[in-house]
C-alpha cells in the first residue's frame, strides 16, 4: 500500500493515532494466512478452519496459497534444513505488512527433535511475532494466538510498515550475518549491538509495540 509511504514522507512529524486505529482495525480484521502447513500442526490448523473451531469468524477467511496475497504466515510444523531456505524465500515474497505466527513446539524451538535435521526454532530463519507452544497445540490455542496477534496489530503505527521493493529485501540480508536480535542473551546492563547496515524489512525495527 502506498499510503504508509505517503504518510511517512508527507507528514513526518504528525501524530496519526486515529488513522492508525482505522488502518490497524482493517488489517487485524482480515488477516489472510499463507498456507505453510508442514507437519502434524498443519492438521490442527486444518481443524481450526473446519466448522468446529472456525477461524473465519476472526477474519482469517481465506488461506491463500500464494504468499503475494497473504498477510500472516503460520509456520505450523517442523522446519527441516532442506526446507529452511524455502521458508525464507516465501517470507520474502510476502508484501508488507506481514506477520509470522510460529505454531507448535517444533516451529518455536525445535520441539522433540533436537538433532541434525531440524532447525531449532523458526526464529532462526524469519522474525516471529507470536509463539504457540504445544505438540500439537489445540485449535483453541491457535485462535488465541490469532487474537493476540490482533491485539499486537492494534498497537502498531502505520509508519512502521513501509513497503520495500523485492530486490532490496532480498539483497539486504545476507544469510549468516545478522547478529542475534532477541534480548535473551544480553546480560543486565548490556545493550544490543548496533547493526552495521539497514534491514530493508521494517519488521524488525518497529518502533511501537
Amino acid at each position: 500500500m502506498g499510503l504508509e509511504n505517503v504518510i511517512a514522507e508527507a507528514l513526518p512529524e504528525v501524530l496519526t493515532t486515529r488513522l492508525d486505529s482505522l488502518i490497524n482495525w482493517a488489517r487485524k480484521s482480515s488477516l489472510w494466512p499463507a498456507t505453510f502447513g508442514l507437519a502434524c500442526c498443519a492438521i490442527e490448523m486444518m481443524n481450526v478452519t473446519s466448522s468446529r473451531n472456525d477461524l473465519a469468524r476472526f477474519g482469517a477467511e481465506v488461506f491463500r496459497a500464494s504468499p503475494r496475497q497473504a498477510d500472516v504466515m503460520i509456520v505450523s510444523g517442523r522446519v527441516s534444513r532442506k526446507m529452511a531456505p524455502v521458508l525464507r524465500r516465501i517470507y520474502d515474497q510476502m508484501p508488507e505488512p506481514k506477520w509470522v505466527i510460529s505454531m507448535g513446539a517444533c516451529a518455536t524451538s525445535g520441539g522433540v527433535f533436537d538433532n541434525y535435521a531440524i532447525v531449532q526454532g523458526v526464529d532462526k530463519v524469519v522474525p516471529v511475532d507470536v509463539y504457540i507452544p504445544g505438540c500439537p497445540p489445540r485449535p483453541e490455542m491457535l485462535i488465541h494466538a490469532v487474537m493476540m496477534l490482533q491485539d499486537k496489530i492494534m498497537k502498531e503505527s502505520v509508519r512502521d510498515r513501509k513497503d520495500v521493493p523485492d530486490q532490496e529485501a532480498r539483497e539486504a540480508i545476507t544469510p549468516g550475518t545478522l547478529p542475534v536480535t532477541d534480548g535473551s542473551t544480553l546480560r543486565p546492563g548490556e545493550k544490543a549491538q548496533p547493526l552495521p547496515y539497514t534491514i530493508a524489512s521494517t519488521h524488525e525495527k518497529r518502533r511501537s509495540f
Binding site: 498456507t35 502447513g37 502434524c40 492438521i43 481443524n47 496459497a65 522433540v112 531440524i118
Partner: protein, 405 residues
C-alpha cells in the same frame, strides 16, 4: 529510430523454434501436494512427460533419534510420523518391541487396540476423502469429513489425552484403561457414522465431475503394483486382494469378520471406491470389538517390562523398585532383530528393530507405505495432464511425515 536500436537484449525477437518441453517445479509449498512435497514436472504443453518427486523437505532424523532414546521413549516419536494415523504407528512399534521381548498381551488390551486402530483408520480415511475431494474441487466434503473426524478425535482424546498425538499404546499393553462411559460414546459414534458415510456418497460418488476426473487416471496394473512394492488400498484397487490383517494377522485380527474390498480397474476411481468400502468395514470391526470387550487387565504380566499399577507402586516394595528401574534405566531387551508389518491405513507399515542388548535400540527403521507408494508416481502419471497429477497424489494418500521420517 533510436528507440528501436536501444532494445535491451532479452526482448529481442529472434527466429528460433520454441522448446516444446518445460520443466516446472510444483512445489514444496503448494496447496495440493499434501505436505512439503516437490515435484519436478517435465511438461509438453499441458501433458506431463515425466513427474519426479523430490522429497526430504520434512526429514526429521527420527530413525537416528530412536537410537538415543529408550524403547518406551520412542513411542512418542512414532506419533509424529504418519500424523493422520498415529495409533497405527504406535501399534507397529510397540508390537515389534513386544515381539523382541516375547511377551503376551492380555485379551482386553488386544481388543481395545483393534478398536482404537480401526477408529484411527476411519479418521485417516476421512482426512483422505476431505483433502482429495478438496483438491479435485469439491469443497463441501472437507468440512463434513472434519466434523466426523472431530468426533473420533474426541474419543481418542478421552482415552489418551491427545487428539493428534495420543501415544496410547505401551510395550505390554495400553497406557491406561478406557475411561468410564467410553463404550457408550463409541456406540453413539457407531450409530451416527453410517448416515454420515451415506452423506459423503451422495455428495461425491454420484458426482459426474468427480467421476470424470478420476476414472481412467493414474492406472497401474497388478504386476506393476507388486513390482513397485505398493500396498494397501492402491494394491487392492488394482485387483490384488492383499491385506496384512489377513495375510499375517496380529492383535487377534483373525477372529474378526470383515471383508477386504478389491476393485479391478487400477485407477483413481477404483482406489476411491476401495477406501469408501474400507470405512464401512472398519465400522463393522469396531462394532465387533465393542461387543467383545470384557473386563480384564490392560497391561501384560511382565514386571520387568511393564510399569506397575500406581496403587501397587505405593504399597509394595518390589513394585516401587521395578517402577524406578524401568523409568530410570529402561527395559533390557535381549539381542535380536524383528520386522513387524501391520496394515496401516495407507498400506504395509513395517517396523524393523535391531537390538544389541540394552535399553536403547541399535537401529529402528520404519518402512513407510507412503514412501513406497510415492515412488510409483512417475510410472502412474506418464501422459496425463497437470490437473490429473493432483488427483493421483490425492489417491496415493501420502503423508510426508512418513515419507521423510
Amino acid at each position: 529510430m533510436s528507440a528501436v536500436a536501444n532494445i535491451p537484449p532479452q526482448f529481442e525477437i529472434v527466429d528460433q523454434p520454441l522448446d516444446s518441453q518445460m520443466t516446472l517445479s510444483m512445489g514444496p509449498q503448494h496447496p495440493s501436494t499434501h505436505g512439503v512435497l516437490r515435484l519436478e514436472l517435465v511438461l509438453d504443453g499441458e501433458m506431463v512427460v515425466k513427474a519426479t518427486p523430490d522429497i526430504g523437505y520434512l526429514h526429521t532424523g527420527m530413525e537416528k533419534l530412536f537410537e538415543y532414546r529408550k524403547y518406551q521413549q520412542g513411542i512418542v516419536i512414532t506419533d509424529r510420523m504418519d500424523y493422520l494415523n498415529p495409533l497405527g504407528n504406535n501399534l507397529a512399534y510397540v508390537m515389534a518391541v513386544e515381539k523382541l521381548l516375547q511377551i503376551e498381551i492380555p485379551e482386553r488390551a488386544q481388543v481395545i487396540r483393534v478398536m482404537m486402530c480401526e477408529l484411527q483408520r476411519i479418521a485417516s480415511h476421512l482426512v483422505w476423502l476431505g483433502t482429495h475431494a478438496l483438491d479435485i474441487g469439491a469443497m463441501t466434503v472437507f468440512f463434513y469429513c472434519f466434523r466426523e473426524r472431530e468426533k473420533i478425535m474426541n474419543l481418542v482424546e478421552a482415552a489418551s489425552g491427545g487428539r493428534l498425538t495420543p501415544s496410547y499404546f505401551r510395550v505390554g499393553g495400553l497406557m491406561m484403561d478406557l475411561p468410564a462411559g467410553f463404550e457408550r460414546r463409541v456406540q453413539q459414534f457407531q450409530t451416527d457414522f453410517p448416515q454420515a458415510l451415506d452423506e459423503f456418497n451422495t455428495l461425491v460418488t454420484g458426482n459426474r465431475i468427480f467421476q470424470k476426473r478420476t476414472q481412467g487416471i493414474g492406472y497401474i496394473s497388478a504386476e506393476d503394483a507388486i513390482d513397485w512394492g505398493l500396498s494397501g488400498p492402491i494394491l487392492r484397487g488394482s485387483g490384488v486382494g492383499l491385506d496384512i490383517r489377513r495375510a499375517n494377522p496380529y492383535t487377534g485380527y483373525d477372529k474378526y469378520d470383515f471383508e477386504i474390498p478389491v476393485e479391478q480397474d487400477g485407477d483413481v476411481w477404483a482406489r476411491y471406491l476401495v477406501r469408501m468400502r474400507e470405512m464401512r468395514e472398519s465400522h463393522k470391526i469396531v462394532q465387533q470389538a465393542l461387543s467383545r470387550l470384557q473386563p480384564g487387565r490392560v497391561k501384560a504380566d511382565a514386571p520387568k517390562v511393564v510399569l506397575p499399577d500406581r496403587e501397587a507402586m505405593k504399597t509394595h516394595m518390589d513394585a516401587l523398585i521395578h517402577h524406578f528401574l524401568l523409568v530410570a534405566e529402561g527395559v533390557d531387551v535381549p539381542p535380536g532383530e524383528v520386522y513387524h508389518p501391520i496394515e496401516a491405513s495407507k498400506g504395509e507399515l513395517g517396523v524393523y528393530i535391531k537390538s544389541t542388548g540394552g535399553p536403547k535400540p541399535a537401529r529402528v527403521h520404519f518402512r513407510g507405505p507412503s514412501f513406497v507408494n510415492l515412488s510409483a508416481l512417475p510410472h502412474m502419471s506418464r501422459g496425463c495432464m497437470v490437473a490429473d497429477i493432483v488427483a493421483i497424489i490425492g489417491s496415493l494418500d501420502i503423508v510426508l511425515g512418513e515419507i521423510d521420517r
